[in-house]
């Protein structure tokens, strides 16, 4: 920390020395802004844990947050979006490929270029915890990973049906607040985040952040323990409630935010007072080191793009060496190839005869070969060992 300070001071001094003509206040402001947030990249994990058509509003909740963070600059590659069911192309949806957040089909939060990373049955407690802690199988594609580091600010948004101390996934399993707190601690120990903003919209949502104990966490919930979170925006054409109250007003709040706005977290805490929400939204900041009044909304909902403008001309037209023309040598000239018969009747029947009569034929050899393949696969299929906390999910 001390070294940081000295660096800061040194840079400030050098800046101060270099430009006498510019007013000192301006420089300090700019430098202050530059060093204010300690993160270099932004990530978002947005999860809807509810299945079935009547939970349309939960998908709409998640998608509205998705829309906001995407609008404020977090690219799809840094958003892990988990939707437990397909509402947009559900057969009951009167307007396919849309999910609306407002009545009368005013705002389509699904958009035309959404990328859902985990969907349907993939949204499980196990997968969610694996994404957070980074313990995924080796072949998992990048789009399904949370590749954050210790300079990342992460927004985690959860919505679904919950109770005191748990949140249901897909109506068949639960994640408890202890598991969640342990996962965040593991993330902290593995230096997977710089600061983390946790938002949950569910009944008794405040119970989910009670057990947190890792540093640099800020948490918001739609309702206190003992309270229900309520839905909003019933739509007669679609036939369900479109949004939950808390996220609806959160979306309204976020729609006014633009990438350079200076709105801070204290204003976020005031979103959806009890008069609008019916439930009492809660927040927790004791684990967070900075003053929430100095934390910008865009520190979590936007993307950091520290751009340095240079006045120097950079010449990019370096002489590109043309690739040596690949000459097809004679050995590369293969024999004449042809399209295979799609249904070679005689060959197929012949194949049978070799099978049944001669066991030493090459055909049988190839088949035994394939068997060993399947065998080895099933036996050597190893998973990365789970931490003990994963066993908790079987205990209800």
């Amino acid at each position: 920390m001390a070294r940081h300070c000295t660096v800061k001071i040194f840079v400030l001094l050098s800046l101060f020395n270099l430009s006498f003509l510019v007013s000192t206040n301006n420089i300090e402001d700019k430098a202050g802004q530059f060093f204010n947030s300690g993160h270099t990249n932004n990530w978002a994990v947005l999860v809807c844990t509810s299945r079935f058509w009547f939970n349309y509003r939960h998908v709409a909740n998640t998608l509205s947050v998705y829309r906001s963070v995407k609008r404020l600059g977090i690219p799809d590659s840094r958003i892990v979006l988990m939707l437990a069911d397909d509402m947009a192309c559900n057969h009951r949806n009167p307007k396919p490929a849309t999910v609306f957040s407002h009545k009368n089909m005013e705002l389509n939060v699904y958009g035309d270029d959404v990328e859902v990373d985990y969907r349907g049955y993939e949204v499980t407690v196990e997968n969610f915890l694996r994404v957070l802690t980074g313990r995924l199988p080796a072949s998992t594609p990048r789009s399904k990973r949370l590749l954050s580091d210790d300079r990342s600010n992460i927004l985690i948004y959860l919505t679904g049906h919950g109770g005191n101390g748990f949140l249901k996934f897909q109506d068949s399993e639960e994640i408890s607040n202890v598991e969640l707190a342990d996962a965040f601690e593991q993330m902290w120990q593995k230096r997977r985040y710089n600061e983390l903003l946790f938002i949950i919209d569910t009944c008794q949502g405040a119970s989910m952040y009670e057990r947190f104990y890792s540093p640099n966490l800020m948490a918001l919930a739609s309702s206190q323990v003992g309270e229900d979170s309520l839905s909003h925006q019933p739509d007669l054409a679609i036939g369900v409630h479109l949004m939950d109250r808390y996220t609806f007003y959160l979306l309204e709040f976020l729609e006014d935010i633009h990438p350079s706005s200076t709105t801070n977290m204290n204003q976020l805490f005031k979103v959806c007072p009890k008069s609008q929400c019916v439930s009492t939204p809660g927040h927790r900041t004791d684990l967070f080191l900075r003053d929430p009044g100095r934390v910008l909304i865009t520190d979590f909902f936007g993307s950091v793009r520290k751009v340095e403008i240079t006045m120097e001309t950079i010449n990019l037209s370096s002489p590109m060496e043309p690739l040596p023309e690949r000459i097809l040598s004679e050995d590369r000239q293969r024999e004449t190839q042809y399209y295979v018969d799609q249904l070679p009747v005689s060959v197929i029947i012949h194949q049978v005869n070799t099978h049944t009569h001669t066991h030493t034929h090459t055909h049988t050899h190839t088949h035994t070969h394939t068997h060993t393949h399947t065998h080895t696969h099933t036996h050597t299929c190893t998973h990365t060992p789970l931490p003990p906390m994963f066993w908790n999910m079987f205990i209800l």
Partner: protein, 791 residues
């Protein structure tokens, strides 16, 4: 918290007990196909071919149709070589006509034949003219190249004239009312018939392309590059992109739109040098192909079921849900491991749950799914096939699919791909096919072909508001304004086969270009809009085709569709939750020809097939398959695989039945919504269907994309695939709230019953004397003082 854990433990133990006992019970049940062959060996049954239908070769040789068509085919060849006189050709064509008419008893209508003859007459006429042109061109070609260029100039001049004429036409049309239009068109037609040397208003585009053939034969070193392209540019463009949209009005009133985007690249992905400079080919796919040594990759995402009996055959078949099949290079050692990794990567690329493909739903067909690209080796140990019948398809799958296109969704035909309209349809299917194709006619070198296809059927009532009237705007809520600038060809085809004279529907703006293509064993006629020509867009600078049926209001029944020669049905029979029977019906509607089909069905392990109950019958008689490949399942490891080669007798229904038993799953193996049921993927029927017309066997020719997907080896038959319906089967599902009830009950019993008994048994009973009252105590104190015995 402790209490909850306690409860949880109880729950866990109880369910474990329940599940394990259930499983035990199942395991002890006798017989069953799987149990008897539980060693896991494949059982391959060999039987000889049924004698009756005999092999298709003899049949075809005996038929007059095919001879005629051979004539038809050879006509092109002769023309290129010997250039026969026109009289000869006419004779040939006459004979063709004479022979073709008896060859079409499938087409039930005789009145239509007359119309056909009429139209054919006209076609002949136009074709003759075209042939004249061709012969002229050939002469010039053979002379010198200078003349070629001169002719090209002429051609362009002609085209310019044409375009100007077209523009005039369109403006006229705008001004004229519809009736007047018809009148003028009739007049034009009359003019055509009378004055032969006048400019045509309808020009035939050659798709069978004798023209191109000549080029290939005469100037082989040009290798694919159209000679009209700029010859001075030294590096020949190694990649090429084409886009195409086919619109087929269906007899049910619905409309079928099929997009195809093809990128061909002469890169050698398996070569020593790494492919790193991508232009038109998507890099994300190219890297996957290189990394996993993929030889062929076919992936499709489909929502809805293709209704063959209502709509006819699709250009590219696909089963509901997701389908993936991959041929790996023979250098791959661990095919299963590579397959698993590949599915994971593809799930990331296409935003789909393809990572659910594992050994329990992957099969390795022994005879189906031969490679569609070129390649001489077909060792089926490098093939993997899997379907996910429940996979949903939505915008998130379309977005990455569109990103693979060179123009994205910014220009060209892909601007029409808006998810709100595409998914508001009865059938939607998008696919990616990667395969090696011939680069030159000799097929010595290969190039990689990426075909992206998207098929959609818009419903007459939901999308069309019940009116038989379609336009591009109505279908896609967009119109076309330009071709993709990177595309070498960009065309829109409208199937007008049933509408040769414009009597069924009216197509506007009218296009002067017509083409014919042999597709799915039928010769179809298409109106062509070439988007690379500015004239296609007319004066409004946007193309919005309008298809208006003429008799839509006065209930005139549209012509009946030809019955598809092959289609199938599948369903589950039986009652209860223990046993059942899968019925597969395969229809051969051909009146007198038998043909072979290969049936593949992969059934998940939790439906235990009783293979000894397998029966195949057609026309009430036992139909013995000439080839059966059956691989029994292993619980939680691999599915059943059943492949059969059947000969379908003419005009028959072949029924394949097999009984099965439902297995009990473990508690954790159930899906979150188990009462929805479990899906069994579509069966696949691959067939060699006898063709009405001669198929085009030359694979190197340029043909419209929609007719050139399946390679064709013989003229008399064509290859096609039909997918059956997926099955939805209910498994015995426990009441998942039952454990909670059990816990409550057990706790009560334990607390009340056992607790009180335990209490009774462990308590020591002591007789406790009640303390005497105050008066008595005082009395006793007094008595003690007095020395009198106490009370």
């Amino acid at each position: 918290m402790a209490a909850r854990r306690c409860l949880g433990l109880w729950f866990f133990l109880i369910t474990l007990c329940v599940v394990s006992t259930g499983a035990d019970v199942l395991h002890t049940t006798p017989v069953t196909g799987t149990e008897s062959s539980a060693a896991g060996t494949e059982t391959v049954v060999a039987r000889e071919l049924p004698e009756a239908p005999s092999d298709p070769g003899e049949h075809t040789a005996a038929e007059p149709t095919r001879e005629g068509e051979q004539n038809d085919r050879t006509r092109g060849g002769e023309q290129t070589l010997g250039q026969p006189t026109r009289e000869e050709e006419q004779e040939q064509e006459k004979t063709r006509e004479g022979e073709q008419t008896p060859a079409q008893p499938t087409r039930e209508e005789e009145e239509e034949e007359e119309e056909q003859e009429q139209t054919r007459g006209e076609e002949e006429f136009t074709r003759e003219e075209e042939e004249e042109e061709l012969t002229r061109e050939e002469e010039e070609l053979t002379t010198e190249e200078e003349e070629l260029t001169r002719e090209e100039e002429e051609q362009t001049r002609e085209e310019e004239e044409l375009t100007t004429e077209e523009e005039e036409l369109t403006t006229e049309e705008e001004e004229l009312t519809r009736e007047e239009e018809e009148q003028t068109r009739e007049e034009e037609e009359e003019q055509q018939t009378t004055a032969q040397q006048e400019e045509q208003t309808k020009r035939w585009e050659a798709t069978e392309l004798e023209e191109e053939h000549v080029h290939d034969a005469a100037v082989p070193p040009l290798a694919g590059d159209p000679p009209a392209a700029d010859p001075p540019s030294p590096p020949p463009s190694k990649d090429d992109f084409q886009e195409e949209l086919v619109i087929r009005p269906l007899h049910s009133g619905d409309i079928y739109a099929s997009f195809q985007f093809r990128t061909v690249w002469d890169a050698d992905f398996m070569g020593d040098q790494k492919v790193s400079h991508y232009r038109l080919f998507p890099k994300s796919l190219g890297q996957v192909i290189t990394k996993f040594s993929v030889r062929e990759l076919h992936i499709s995402f489909t929502q809805g079921y293709w209704r063959t009996m209502q709509w006819g055959q699709p250009y590219l078949p696909s089963p509901p849900g997701a389908e993936l099949w991959v041929w790996f290079q023979d250098t791959v050692t661990d095919v299963d491991g590579t397959w698993k990794e590949l599915t994971n990567v593809l799930s990331g690329i296409f935003c789909a749950s393809l990572n659910f493909i594992d050994s329990t739903n992957t099969v390795q067909p022994s005879a189906s799914f031969k490679p569609l690209g070129i390649g001489n080796v077909t060792d089926h140990s490098f093939l993997r096939y899997a379907t996910l019948p429940r996979e949903i398809v939505c915008t998130e799958n379309l977005t990455p699919w569109k990103k693979l296109l060179p123009c994205g969704s910014k220009a060209g035909l892909s601007v029409l791909l808006k998810s709100e309209k595409l998914f508001h349809s009865t059938f939607h299917s998008q696919a990616v096919h990667v395969r090696p194709v011939c680069q030159d006619p000799q097929c010595r070198t290969t190039s990689m072909e990426l075909r992206q296809t998207l098929n959609v059927v818009f419903d007459l009532h939901t999308s069309g508001q019940g009116k038989r009237e379609w336009s591009l705007f109505k279908m896609f809520s967009r119109t076309l304004t330009e071709a993709c600038p990177l595309a070498s060809s960009s065309k829109v085809y409208v199937d007008v086969t049933d509408n040769p004279q414009g009597e069924q529907f009216e197509l506007s703006p009218a296009t002067p270009l017509l083409t014919q293509a042999v597709v799915l064993g039928d010769r179809r006629t298409y109106s062509v809009y070439d988007l690379t020509q500015q004239a296609s867009f007319g004066s409004s600078r946007s193309l919005n085709m309008l298809l208006r049926w003429k008799n839509s209001h006065n209930n005139v029944v549209p012509p009946v569709m030809l019955r598809p020669l092959l289609h199938s049905e599948r369903y589950v029979a039986g009652y209860g939750l223990q046993a059942g029977e899968i019925h597969t019906l395969i229809y051969n509607h051909h009146p007198y020809r038998a043909f072979p089909v290969l049936l593949l069905s992969a059934v998940p392990w939790y439906l235990r097939l009783y293979i000894h109950t397998l029966t195949v019958s057609s026309k009430g008689k036992d139909n013995r398959p000439s080839y059966i490949h059956y691989q029994p399942s292993k619980d939680r490891e691999r599915p059943h695989l059943l492949e059969m080669l059947l000969q379908l007798p003419p005009n028959s229904v072949t029924e394949v039945t097999v009984e099965f038993e439902r297995a009990l799953l473990k508690w954790t193996e159930y899906t979150p919504d188990p009462n929805h049921g479990f899906y069994v993927g579509s069966s696949v029927i691959s067939a060699l269907v006898p063709s009405v017309v001669a198929m085009d066997t030359n694979s190197t020719l340029d043909r419209p994309l929609f007719s050139s997907f399946f390679p064709c080896k013989e003229e008399a038959s064509y290859f096609m695939r039909v997918y059956t319906e997926p099955l939805l089967v209910n498994l015995p599902t426990p009441d998942f709230s039952m454990p909670y009830n059990v816990i409550c009950l057990t706790c009560t019993v334990v607390a009340v019953g056992y607790g009180s008994l335990y209490n009774l048994l462990t308590r020591t009973f002591q007789v406790d004397e009640p303390s005497p009252g105050l008066a008595k105590r005082i009395a006793n104190v007094i008595r003690r003082f007095r020395g009198v015995p106490l009370l």
